[in-house]
Symmetry: C2
Subunit: 314 residues, 2 copies
């Protein structure tokens, strides 16, 4: 990963260095310089290399994907009224809402500028970009609904977060000249890995070690945030006729007992089920990777990245 | 114009008909269906035909330009907190701010989808799209400054409104295979016409007939909105040592006398100067058109359109 990150960080700095001095570009540079894992652009480089291309040849597209991701963060943070991003003030807090709207808009144009004019690449990017917007729309719609099903939630998460990993890999593969079937396989790998990643996030919130995650144990649960675990937990509780979880949620936040809620999720079998699902998703991802006919050593970076994501505790 | 409009309206309806049912797309369809002059997409068709292309071949790009324009309206209306657009509720009023942000974002992606993968077209579109964002940024910055010069204002208006007319014409010309010089000329024609159009707008606000414009006489002036006329008027007043205009602006809005303000603009020679400038811009535009070596009858639609804009009283 370090090799890819170095390439990416250098290219991000080069890109920032070429921005005009206008006020419009300050928030972009600020957000792009916050410490980040750069998972998406790394996937573009890795996807390219997997099919025999040179990572250096897809740096523009990789940064384009990262710009798109950061554009969605800039606008999502307005919509969610989030004060912090990566531990630092969000753009709409540091500047103002209008600057964050407008700078985000220009950021999307800059992402397209980097994406170039390859018809296949643009087709992939356009479709996935719309899927991400649809995911965010559903996320907002779900906030106002009490009856969101587990399947609906899963599809929302797929659109909002997993498809961009798929998009990053596909574009790298496409630029390396991979065939349509191979692009499909590597995309499915990315999507399954993305879903597993998100579910693991939910699991860490409730069952992770607060000393390691750095977050309050069960913070999402306590706030009644609709996550994979909570939605599934409420479904299971209804099936089993248990009112404990719903009882806690009916209380004002300060009076909720998060330990009771976590115990309930365990008792309802939701923790086990979620762990099984993570395993199932990761297995499905690796099966897709196995099906791609390239020398095995080329698959090592993806396996290493996937293992890093699997082993994480924070 | 009617021939172009019919082509455009039919293509807009076809485009709307193919949108998915998601909540994300409702606001786009709503805004795109509000009655509009369709000047920008018409310019793309006309720019294509001018250089021997078929208008039917640039309908996607034309609608892409119109979508981009409407995307900027959707977001500008949030930033300006405008309740009405074309006499109807703005998207953020009819839905909410978050829907308007997100639907606007997706609208920009849809605009790119229509713009295709022609490298030259994309280069033109990217550059002009960024210019429009820079113009809006300056417009917002200027609201917080008391010392905006006439030159700065003019450059802001050029970026915010005139360059998109230029872009629309250039893309049509480019798709018809026009050479670089011809693209430059038709772009300059559009930019000058756009500046003239905006200045005429300001003139109509102060000196037009309210019975024809349907707006309150001097409404912009009364609200102290920074327009071409007011900024130039304040510059001239300073030169001439007159405090009348500034005196009116120092009063609360209900106490301002708009007739005094309009008389001042006349007395300071600003009305005459603005009329001269409109004439100068239109002459410059037509000189660019004259320089393009295509049969004269092909220039008729552009001359007709320009005359319509010149003759307008509302």
């Amino acid at each position: 990963m370090e090799r890819y990150r170095a390439l990416i960080e250098a290219h991000v700095e080069r890109w920032i260095g070429e921005l005009p001095g206008d006020a419009l570009y300050g928030p972009m540079a600020y957000l792009m310089r916050l410490p980040a894992k750069r998972v998406r652009p790394a996937l573009t480089l890795i996807g390219c290399e997997l099919f025999g291309g040179r990572p250096e040849n897809v740096l523009d597209e990789a940064i384009g994907i990262e710009l798109f991701h950061n554009f969605t963060l800039m606008h999502d943070d307005i919509m969610d009224a989030s004060p912090l991003r990566r531990g630092m003030p969000t753009v709409h807090m540091k500047w103002d809402v209008n600057s964050a709207i407008l700078s985000g808009d220009a950021m999307l144009v800059k992402a397209y500028q980097l994406m170039g004019s390859n018809a296949h690449v643009l087709k992939i990017f356009n479709e996935h970009a719309l899927a991400v917007c649809e995911g965010q729309q559903r996320d907002m719609d779900f906030e106002r609904r009490a009856d969101v099903s587990f399947q609906e939630y899963r599809e929302m998460i797929r659109l909002k977060t997993a498809v961009l990993l798929s998009c990053a890999l596909r574009i790298g593969a496409c630029k390396a000249g991979a065939g349509a079937d191979d692009q499909e396989s590597i995309g499915a790998f990315g999507e399954n890995l993305g879903l597993a990643f998100q579910l693991r996030d939910d699991l860490l919130d409730a069952f992770g070690d607060p000393a390691v995650t750095g977050k309050r144990r069960g913070g999402d649960l306590l706030n009644g945030k609709k996550t994979w675990l909570l939605i599934r937990g409420l479904e299971r509780a209804t099936d089993e006729g248990s009112g404990l979880l719903r009882g806690e949620l009916a209380k004002p936040i300060p009076e909720r007992n998060v330990d009771v809620m976590i115990e309930q999720l365990r008792g309802l079998g939701v923790e086990r089920e979620a762990n099984d699902e993570v395993l199932r998703l990761e297995t499905a991802a690796f099966a897709q990777l196995d099906g791609i006919a390239v020398p095995d050593e080329r698959k090592l970076p993806l396996r290493a990245l996937a293992r890093t994501l699997q082993a994480r505790t924070s």
